[in-house]
Subunit: 376 residues, 2 copies
C-alpha cells in the first residue's frame, strides 16, 4: 500500500526527527522497542520525547508532559503505533486523546499482538485523523530486532566475525592475538551494549578468557555521555556448554551481569549470577533453533554472537543469522591458517549462504562490513 500521497515534506522532516530521537533509546529500551515522538503546532516543534527504558513512560507521554496545554489541536508524529493496552504504563492512545491532539502521524503499525492496529483504531474512534506509513522502512530498521521477535517468535541474530582479508582467524598454531585492531574491539562494545543477549561458547570463554561484558569505558565518549555507566543495561550472556566443562572459576563468572549457561543435562552449578538452561533435545549438540526460540520467549529481541568458526558455521548452515558484522584486518594469513566459518554440510555453490552489503566503514585500520540476509 502506498500512503505517501498523504504526506507533505514537513511531515517527512518531523518524522525523520522522531526516528532520530527514537534511537537515543537503543542502549536501554530492550525488550521494548525504540520509539520517538514529536509534537508540532503551527509548524513549530513544541515537544519531543523518546522511550528510555521498559517500565518508564512511553515516548508520547514524555512529549505530552512537555507540551502541556499546548498539545490542544497539535499533531503528534510517532515512530510506532501508540499502544492501546495497559502494560507497565497506561495506553498512550488515551493519553493522546485526552491531551486534545487532533492528528497523529504514525510511521508503522505495531505488530505486538497487544496493539496490532488497536491503537490506531482507538484514536480514529475518538475523531483523531491518523495517517499511517510515513518513513515506514526507516522506522522498521531501528526496531528490526523487536519486530522480528513480534512477527516470528525468534530473536534477531547478529553474527560478529573478525578476520584477515583472506578469511582467517588465527595461524595454524592457534596464534591469533590482535588480528583486528583495538579500535575494532572497541567498536564491538557498542554492538554488545545494544544487544539483548550475547551468545558464545565454552570454547571461546576458555580460549580467550572472555568476560563478554559491556565495558563502559571503552564506549565512544559521545555514548558514554548519553548513557552514564549505571543506565547501560548488561546484556545477558548466553553460553553454550553442552559437555558441562565450565567450572564457574572462569573470568566470565567473576564479572557482574546475568549468565545463562546452556547445557544438555542438569548438574550442580553454583554461581550467583548464573542460571542453567537445559536444552534436552535428542541431539548431543545444543539445538540452536530451539534455544533461540526459548530466548525469544524470555523477551530477548536481539542476540549478538561472538564465538568461533563452529558456532558461526552452525548458525549459518541452519539459516539462523540475520546480520553479519565482519571486521577485516588488512592482512593475509594464508591457506594454512584457521578458517572463519565451519560449514561442513555445504557442497554446492547454489546453496551457500548469501547476504547483501548494507554498510561499510573504516574502524581504525580495519574495515567493518555490515550485511543482512539476502532477501528472496
Amino acid at each position: 500500500m502506498n500512503y505517501s500521497s498523504h504526506f507533505t515534506d514537513s511531515d517527512r522532516l518531523y518524522m525523520a526527527e522522531a526516528i532520530e530521537l527514537a534511537q537515543f533509546g537503543r542502549f536501554t529500551t530492550p525488550p521494548n522497542p525504540n520509539v520517538g515522538c514529536i509534537i508540532v503546532k503551527h509548524n513549530q516543534i513544541i515537544a519531543t520525547g523518546y522511550h528510555r527504558q521498559a517500565g518508564q513512560p512511553h515516548a508520547e507521554v514524555y512529549a505530552l508532559r512537555q507540551a502541556g496545554d499546548r498539545a490542544q489541536g497539535a499533531t503528534a508524529y510517532v515512530t510506532l503505533e501508540p499502544c492501546s493496552h495497559f502494560g507497565r504504563t497506561p495506553p498512550c492512545a488515551d493519553a493522546l486523546i485526552n491531551a486534545g491532539i487532533t492528528r497523529v502521524v504514525v510511521a508503522m503499525q505495531d505488530p505486538n499482538p497487544n496493539v496490532a492496529g488497536q491503537g490506531i483504531k482507538r484514536l480514529r474512534q475518538a475523531g483523531i485523523q491518523v495517517d499511517v506509513g510515513l518513513l515506514a522502512d526507516e522506522a522498521q530498521l531501528i526496531n528490526r530486532a523487536f519486530l522480528k521477535r513480534m512477527r516470528t517468535g525468534m530473536p534477531y541474530v547478529q553474527l560478529k566475525l573478525a578476520t584477515s582479508l583472506d578469511g582467517k582467524i588465527a595461524m595454524a598454531s592457534g596464534e591469533s592475538q590482535w588480528i583486528t585492531s583495538r579500535e575494532a574491539r572497541q567498536d564491538v562494545q557498542v554492538f554488545r551494549a545494544q544487544a539483548s543477549a550475547i551468545l558464545s561458547t565454552r570454547a571461546t570463554v576458555q580460549a580467550d578468557n572472555a568476560s563478554l561484558t559491556v565495558r563502559h569505558h571503552e564506549l565512544p565518549p559521545n555514548i558514554q555521555q548519553i548513557y552514564p555507566i549505571e543506565s547501560v543495561r548488561k546484556p545477558v550472556r548466553v553460553i553454550l556448554d553442552s559437555q558441562n566443562q565450565l567450572t564457574g572459576d572462569e573470568n566470565l563468572f567473576q564479572q557482574s551481569g546475568k549468565i545463562w549457561l546452556v547445557r544438555k543435562q542438569n548438574i550442580e552449578f553454583n554461581q550467583q549470577n548464573t542460571t542453567v538452561l537445559i536444552e534436552s533435545s535428542a541431539s548431543k549438540h545444543i539445538d540452536l533453533y530451539l534455544l533461540l526460540k526459548q530466548l525469544a520467549l524470555q523477551q530477548i529481541n536481539s542476540v549478538w554472537v561472538e564465538a568461533g568458526s563452529h558456532l558461526a558455521g552452525a548458525l549459518l548452515e541452519q539459516n539462523l543469522v540475520d546480520e553479519l558484522i565482519i571486521y577485516y584486518a588488512p592482512k593475509l594469513l594464508g591457506h594454512n591458517a584457521l578458517d572463519l566459518c565451519f560449514l561442513p554440510h555445504l557442497h554446492q555453490l547454489a546453496l551457500v549462504p548469501e547476504f547483501e552489503f548494507q554498510s561499510v566503514q573504516m574502524v581504525g585500520p580495519d574495515l567493518r562490513c555490515i550485511l543482512t540476509k539476502k532477501s528472496l
Copy 2:
C-alpha cells in the same frame, strides 16, 4: 622539504585541474607517465593539454599550441617536471622558454634519469620562476607505476583477488563460476585497460579458458566514449608456463595482442603473437623477482595479476605486491572451499603481509577494496 608557502589557493586549484586532466591519459600513455598542463594568464585558463600516447606531443606542447602568442607572460602548471632531453619529441623546457612563459609551477620532479631536475634547472637558467612541490602526493599517485619503475627498476604490481566473504574462491569440488558478479568482472576490464602487462599462469589460462584481453565493449560507457576502440592499448599478456604445457591452441592465443610466454627452457612454439621468454635460473619455478625486473627493462610500468592462489601467494611471500584489489562477493563458502592465498612458508603472525585500505566501493552487489602495501 615544505614548499607550500610559495603557493596560493588559486595555484592549488589550477594544479588540481592539471592532475585531473593528466588522468585522461591513463589508458594510453604507458610506458610514459600521465602529465597534465594548464596555462593561466590574468587568472584565466587560456590553454590545457595532457599527454595522450608515447610518441605524441607532451602535455606542455599541446597546451602551448592552444595558447599561441597568448602564452607570453603566462604561468604554466605542470604535473611533472618538463623534460629537458630529446626523446621521441623535443624538450618541453625549451618549448616553455620559447613561448615566453614567465612562471612554471611543477607538482614534482621527474625521477627519470634523463630529466631528474635538469628540466627545472634549464627553465631557471632562462630566468623563469619555477615553483616545485604543489600537490606532489596527488601527482605521485597518478604515476605510481611509472615512478616505481624509474626509482627501483621494478614494475608496480597490482594483485587482483575475487573471493567470498570468508576468503574462498571455489567449492572443494572446484565449482567456482560466478563467485563475483558481472559488474565486478566488468570493473576488472577497467584495470586491465590501464595496465602495461597482465600476468597470469598456464593453470588459469587452461582452467578458465581465459583470453585476458581488454574487452572494449565491457568498459563503462564514459570510458568507451573517451577511448575509441582503436586507441585503447592492448596490454601484453605475460603467461607463466614453466612446464611447457600450453600448446598454442588455447583461447588466449586466438585473441589479438602480444603474448610473452615465460618458460624455463626453449622449445619450439609457433604463434604469431607470442614471444617466448626464457627464465633460466636454477630453480624449477620461475623466479618472479627476476621476471618482474625483466619486465621493467621492457618498459612495463605496471603489472596486473590475475591468477590463482599459488601465484598470488608466491608474489605475496616474496613481498612483490604493491597493491591488492579484492572483490568480495556477499557469500560464505565455508572451510572446505578453496583458499584465496597459498602462503606455505608463513607460520608467524608477526610476518604476515600487511596492507592499508585505500578505497572501498560497491561494484554491483560486490564490494571492491583497494589496499596498498603497509608503509613501514
